[in-house]
């Protein structure tokens, strides 16, 4: 597939393939956006390079994908924006269904902390060296990961407590 990249995006892809040729898996475009999939173990190196050398200083978002029944079930996507050249690029990494774990990018972008907590809360992907990996939305003692495909639409009955219908004093 031929890519139709802008000058700055072409520069990004070129310098990544020059410096990290062994960890680059694929580059593709969809709906006008550019996606770069890399090896999970080189995530920290590549993101650090993107921020410090290519000025992708703004981490817009991190989100998870459940590729249920596929090999390497979980995918985590980093939505990066360069404020200098106004270009956006998406970095993707995949991890296994059993014990999904990735490096935290908090050392690169401090704002990643809450985004990673959300991915952990919804998909159960663990982030190594995260400073405070707790659930962000659901109760601490909740046992499930609600955005996984096998989780039922209406949840597990009784897993989140409803208030007592008897007033405390009675």
């Amino acid at each position: 597939m031929s890519l139709n990249l802008s000058e700055t995006l072409q520069k990004t892809v070129d310098s990544l393939s020059k410096n990290f040729s062994e960890s680059l898996i694929e580059v593709y475009q969809s709906s006008g956006d550019t996606f770069i999939r890399i090896e999970a173990d080189s995530l920290l190196k590549v993101t650090k390079y993107l921020k410090e050398e290519l000025h992708y200083v703004y981490l817009s978002d991190i989100f998870g994908i459940d590729r249920y029944t596929s090999e390497e079930r979980f995918e985590v996507v980093y939505n990066l924006l360069s404020l200098k050249s106004q270009t956006r690029v998406f970095i993707k990494v995949r991890c296994e269904e059993e014990n999904p774990e990735l490096d935290s990018v908090v050392p690169v972008w401090k704002s990643a902390g809450w985004n990673e907590r959300e991915v952990f809360d919804m998909f159960g992907v663990h982030f190594r060296n995260h400073p405070d990996l707790r659930r962000i939305f659901l109760p601490e003692d909740f046992e499930y990961y609600p955005l996984r495909k096998e989780f039922p639409l209406l949840g597990i009955p009784g897993s989140i407590e409803l208030p007592s219908t008897t007033p405390e004093s009675e």
Partner: protein, 160 residues
């Protein structure tokens, strides 16, 4: 009507129950539990155009201890349900509850793990209003239904 003529102008005879129910039904002050977009229609219901004060619901009371009718307007999460129940428990008896709109009545379009599928899971709801959101007239209708309910209550002696 013999007694009134004996007592003259300024007197009438009635039952205590009827008098109390008449007074209660025409002074049902709402506790606005505005959780989402339904709350905007609830404001219109209280405002001058639809004017809930005509029916004795004179003012919205933001203090549960001064309110009689709780209007749950909007979708309710499991997290919020504890706060709502706490406020409901603080309202003095007798009290009534309106589930306003599809979400408060059944969960509506929020068919998911985080939203309570109808506030009647933890509140004794007296009137349900359909609509997404309901028009202010529908809220007035629910209020009038509650007034009818109050007027046909059993003896006030049973309250104590």
């Amino acid at each position: 009507m013999g007694l009134e003529s004996a007592l003259g102008n300024g007197f009438l005879t009635t039952k205590m129950d009827t008098l109390v129910n008449w007074a209660r039904s025409n002074a049902a002050w709402p506790m606005p539990m505005g959780l989402a977009c339904c709350a905007i229609e609830m404001m219109a219901f209280a405002g001058p155009r639809y004017d809930a004060a005509r029916f004795g619901s004179e003012v919205m009371r933001f203090s549960p201890r001064q309110a009689d009718v709780m209007i749950v307007a909007g979708w309710c999460t499991y997290k919020m349900s504890h706060a709502i129940r706490r406020i409901w428990d603080q309202m003095p008896d007798p009290k009534w509850c309106i589930a306003m709109g599809a979400c408060a009545s059944t969960g509506g379009m929020h068919r998911c793990y985080g939203v309570v599928q109808g506030v009647d899971n933890f509140l004794p709801v007296d009137a349900y209003i359909s609509g997404c959101p309901p028009r202010p007239d529908a809220v007035l209708h629910a209020l009038m239904k509650i007034q009818d309910k109050i007027k046909t209550e059993h003896s006030v002696m049973l309250d104590s």
